[in-house]
């Protein structure tokens, strides 16, 4: 891979990440907090690509006057990677950097959803048990994250949820028996560590919706639970009063 091509690949990769991080697209892959770092890194990558092209084009025009002694010396060593003697090893492995560029620009894969939620167990681990749940705000309808609802329902035995109407937003994932669950994926760093949180539904259950349909459900706490067969963790339930389909949110994770 010659230097011009390396410069072009760096420009493409930097440009693709910059494009993803100034739109909402980066939220499909990483947390919001990473945005400034992504922008800084992609700008630096673009700068490196431009500098590479600039130095290379100048050298290509025969402008050797500015070259230091080291620039043309020191080659001809057999390097540790076994490439031919006498040839400076331009990293061929760099070609692989085209793959994430294609992934971002061409495929732009969607946020993880029901596939991940169906293959991983609900993630309410005992070690993360919070002891004190702050009381819910005194409003007629409380908007909660799926994680917050599930945590209060399982660890607090629904204490702080008693008699309250709550609203949750998530996507539909059906288990092997065709029972729909409301799920949301929780991220710590990036989509590679996504863990699902699932809530079972009773009452006015949104039946027959395809997986990955986003819904907002309104309902209340119910003392029903089931066990996730994948990791034997507890899945709490919600007594659904009403539900409606919604557009997927720009922040798909919690």
């Amino acid at each position: 891979m010659n230097r011009q091509a390396q410069g072009v690949v760096m420009l493409l990769f930097g440009g693709a990440v910059l494009k993803a991080s100034v739109t909402d697209m980066y939220l499909r892959y990483v947390k919001e907090v990473l945005q400034p770092f992504l922008i800084a890194a992609s700008v630096l990558l673009i700068a490196a690509g431009l500098m590479t092209l600039w130095y290379d084009l100048r050298a290509g025009r025969g402008d050797h006057a500015g070259h230091g002694p080291g620039d043309r010396a020191g080659h001809g060593h057999e390097d540790a990677h076994g490439h031919g003697a006498g040839q400076h090893r331009e990293p061929r492995v760099g070609w692989l950097l085209i793959l994430p560029v294609l992934g971002l620009l061409l495929v732009s894969p969607p946020a993880l959803g029901s596939y991940t939620a169906a293959t991983a167990g609900t993630s309410l681990s005992d070690e993360q048990r919070v002891v004190d749940f702050p009381p819910l705000p005194q409003v007629s309808l409380v908007e909660l994250t799926v994680l917050d609802y599930a945590a209060r329902a399982v660890w607090d035995d629904g204490e702080s949820l008693q008699g309250r109407r709550v609203q949750l937003t998530g996507f539909i994932v059906t288990d092997r028996h065709g029972e729909p669950f409301l799920a949301r994926l929780v991220l710590t760093c990036c989509a590679a560590d996504a863990r699902p949180v699932k809530v079972g539904l009773t009452g006015d259950v949104p039946d027959g919706l395809p997986d990955d349909t986003w819904v907002t459900v309104i309902g209340g706490y119910v003392e029903q639970t089931s066990i996730d067969p994948i990791n034997e963790a507890t899945i709490p339930y919600l007594q659904v009063e009403s539900w409606r389909e919604v557009e997927p949110p720009s922040q798909p994770y919690e």
Binding site: M1, N2, R3, Q4, A5, Q6, M10, F13, V17, Y29, V30, A40, S42, L44, A48, M51, T52, G60, G62, G68, P69, G70, D71, R72, H75, H77, D79, A80, H81, G84, G86, Q87, H88, E90, P91, R92, V93, G94, L96, L97, L99, P100, V107, Y115, T116, G121, S125, D126, E127, Q128, R129, C189, C190, A191, A192, D193, R195, I230, N231, A233
Partner: protein
Amino acid sequence: MTLHRPPPYTSREDGHSPSRRRFGDRIGAVEIIAGLLILLAIFRSPIAAAVGHPAVQAWTTVFVAIMVQALPFLIGGVGVAAAIGVYVPRSFWQKALPRNQALAVPVASCSAVVMPGCECGSVPIAGSLVRRGVSQAAALAFLLAAPAINPIVLIATAVAFPDHPEMVLARALASAAVAVGVGWLWIRLGRADLLRLPPRPELDDASRHRAFWNALRHDTMIAGGFLVIGAAAAATINVVIPERWVTAVADNPWLAIAVMAGLAVLLSICSEADAFVAASLTQFSLTSRLVFLVVGPVVDLKLIAMQVGVFGRRFAATFAPLTLAVAVAMALLCGWWLL
């Protein structure tokens, strides 16, 4: 991917005479990229259909996510590495680190604590340190310590295990013991020819700025390219291994430890995030999860791939098993003592 042989008549290093530069592989490589992009743009919809299967889609998302997540750490690490290689004089390291190698190892490990780095960034930095005359053992101790024991990682661990604050202590102690232990072992075991850094004459360029950008470009392409291999492998494991299989082995304590060590290597999760993944694997014993947290930041697919790229294949073939063995031993020791 340029397969040309250097012309015998020239002593120029990059193997293209001025005429070849203009008409040969130089323009060829850029044209390949352009052609590839045009083809892919034309066949975009069949490609999109091919990646329509949910498993393939999940794979693509996880792969892209790892690359995006790693980019700031990669570029940050590569930037620091280039700055060390170009702007920091060799004499600085001789003054900063004890002359005695056995002392330099713990000092390097401690300096890593204050540098919140990620695996991806620490590999090129360690390469740059060796290039600037820091002893291999000290640079490798830094490489192992930087991602494993820094404030961000320890706070993340405390948040993930609120009921087990001893987990934080156990992780810090075991990881520090791994960095120092492997460093000391390397003084003994590491033959100088194992770690061979390819010559980088451009670092001595008369123009410092050109040298800096050249080093940045070179490290980005190598470390980034190998990061792609690691990310692809980790995404495959992430999507292919069903959680059900993993949890089936949790009941056997020794098998659980082996599986958690294996998972840490295969999953290649960032050290900032692995505590939360460990916390969610509740069926496993605390000790086996400590093994996961200690092994992950020092040996994983992503790191091995990058070490092959920066230090060479023979180095990685010795260093990775050595680190894995020490990491498992230290984690078991600290787990037995503290958990």
